[in-house]
Amino acid sequence: MGRLLLAVFVGLFLGCTKKESGPSVSSDAKVKVGLVLDKGGKDDKSFNAAAFKGASDAAKDFDIELKVVESPDDASYEPAIRGLAERGFQLVITVGFAQSDALKKISPQFPKTHFAIVDAMVDVPNVASLLFSEHEGSYLVGYIAGSKTETGTVGFIGGMDVDLIKRFELGYREGVLKANPKAKILTNYVGVSSEAWMNPTKGRELTLSQIGRGADIIFSAAGATNSGVFDAVEEKKKFAIGVDSNQNWVKPGRVLTSMMKRVDLAVYNTIKAEKEGKFVWGNKFFGIADKGVDYALDEHNAALISDELKKKVEQVRTDILSGKIKVSDYYVTRTLCPKSPLNCDRSQRRSGESGRTTQSVSQ
């Protein structure tokens, strides 16, 4: 057996004797862009899919060479990013906050390579951090939910129980309460591990439970788990609010609107900047001003959003931009009930108290 293995190695080595140096950097002047996706992969119909779409669109519009790598586990972020950088890719875009450690470690080793990361801040002079003001977008859809609810109870379903999604929740809460100060808000999280993004069964169960407790509109920020939420609201004739992409088309008439987080736009713009030689490192925020986050309005939900409501929402948008309405940011406040603690149930207060401010993201 030992001999067999040895022979495998030797055999494979012999097959490679022609190789004298590592894979060489191709000589043509095409800009080479690498995209490292997170665990969900490019077919998750959600977050990673959006990043993939942005990169593919850019590859169509500009003359670039695009290489997409999927990472099935934590251990492969590092070698994937390194592998792309070693091969002379000028721009490497990493998707998801889970890759921040790997990027923090590798980016200083390749100072001439440009990196970008979605959803996390990496403070290195060759890294662009692409961040979204999820709380503001959530405020808008929260306002819509608060205005439309008939039972006075709305729901929120988060995917993984992490700060990023609490940011969604907090913005949503404030939006709901702005439209309907007496509204009751139910909250559930699908899980604590990355499995939470791909668990439609549990999404459906949580939705049914919230509907049972009186909710008639449910905002679900849970990646691929959302499909289960949509099934449940269709079954019970209630409404859901989609997330990340425009998901209005998934169950037309049952999806009130979607909180769009334009990861595709961010990726596309970053590639465009690289192509034009205008890459800038540092934090880049996408908010409601540049439609980096927005609520979705199309033919599938036109009947659900009245002109009057639309006008009100636009007013809210203007107020946020002008600073008249200040949306609390969970990254700053570290508590889910900064304004009216009495409206929070106990568990949420507890999680708020123990939090501390670590990353202040201010406008």
């Binding site: 067999l4 097959g15 490679c16 290489k67 586990d73 251990a75 129980d161 591990s193």
Partner: protein, 347 residues
């Protein structure tokens, strides 16, 4: 000459099948092999990564080997490595003030104990309740995932990060990387520990009374029972040792690399350990080459995905599968071949 042919023919067979698969996929086999080999051994850094991926496979491979020798199929190395890692990180975070060798030694012992505890649960149920170890250990895997999730997020959560991971362990608990030889690669002293464990397991199995009992129980359980051996006790102990070995994965991952425990950090090291153990045919010394082969494929396939347009890293699984089949078929094949060879040389 005969031996050479015996060795080469399975290799040729493996290469042929894999080449065929690559051709069907429409890629150039030469480039693909080149990419895998270059990815795994092309630079000091790549070799460092290959060694880093092989280290946990040595631990889990040994874990499965030990159980296998007692006639038990430990499919729960995955759960045992998680509990071992959890104990390790719990120790390191709760006793922060330790310094020097005591710190690392304590953490290693914690990992051993955690894994041993999880393994001996299987052993207890097997030895005293007659539950099937495969069923029990699969189910305990899920329990361990949940337990780790709970402790990582509720007890040891890193407040500075959104990732489901624990806080970082103090500097005293970190073991050194081999930066000088393998720059930027995470390979560390845990690799030495792995080699040491291989020797230790070999010695235990072949030179100690305990190993004598274990092998006897594994290969002739009925005779062992009738000879008055403490069969149940040995089964329990074997599972504890098996679990402890799996638990050491945490030393490589946490003390040597990430310095914190990430939820679900293992890409299935426990399950790959089964393949490693079978490839090694239950011999502790062969675990090292088998683990290196799998580590090489893991690292090489990642570079393959970057270099090749059509192949993805899944080719690594194809190769692993073909190798396993070749290994399983080898006794049969080599017998046939030997006969052919004899006929051929006579005429």
């Amino acid at each position: 000459m005969k031996n050479l042919i015996k060795t080469l023919i399975p290799v040729v067979a493996i290469l042929t099948v894999v080449t065929f698969v690559i051709l069907v996929m429409g890629d150039n086999p030469f480039n693909v092999f080149q990419s895998i080999i270059w990815g795994a051994f092309g630079s000091a850094t790549s070799i460092g990564y290959t060694l880093f991926y092989s280290t946990p496979l040595v631990f889990t491979g040994l874990s499965v080997v030990v159980a296998l020798r007692a006639g038990l199929f430990n499919i729960g190395a995955e759960g045992q490595l998680y509990i071992g890692s959890l104990s390790l990180v719990a120790y390191a975070l709760m006793f922060k003030d330790q310094a020097g060798a005591v710190a690392i030694l304590g953490a290693v012992v914690a990992a051993l104990l955690g894994g041993a505890l999880w393994g001996s649960l299987v052993g207890l149920l097997k030895a005293f309740r007659g539950s099937h170890e495969v069923v029990v250990s699969i189910m305990l895997n899920f329990v361990s995932y949940a337990l780790c999730g709970y402790f990582i997020l509720n007890q040891f959560k890193n407040p500075f990060s959104q990732n489901p991971e624990t806080s970082e362990v103090e500097a005293a608990f970190r073991i050194s990387n081999w930066e000088a030889i393998f720059p930027h690669a995470p390979v560390n002293n845990a690799a030495l520990l792995a080699v040491f464990c291989v020797g230790l397991v070999w010695w235990l199995l072949y030179r100690s009374q305990w190993g004598f009992d274990v092998r006897f129980v594994g290969e002739s359980p009925e005779a062992a029972r009738r000879a008055g051996l403490p069969v149940r006790m040995r089964l329990l102990q074997v599972m504890a040792v098996s679990g402890a070995l799996a638990g050491l994965v945490g030393v490589n991952e946490i003390l040597g690399f990430s310095h914190k425990m990430k939820d679900q950090f293992s890409p299935g090291y426990g399950f790959m350990g089964i393949a490693v153990a079978l490839l090694a045919r239950g011999e502790p010394l062969r675990v090292i080459p088998a683990a290196l082969l799998f580590g090489m494929l893991q690292k090489g396939s990642l570079d393959l995905e970057i270099d090749s347009q059509k192949m993805t890293r899944d080719l690594a699984y194809v190769i692993q599968g073909v190798v396993m089949i070749a290994v399983a078929a080898q006794p049969y094949l080599s017998k046939k071949l030997e006969k052919r060879w004899e006929l051929w040389t006579r005429n």
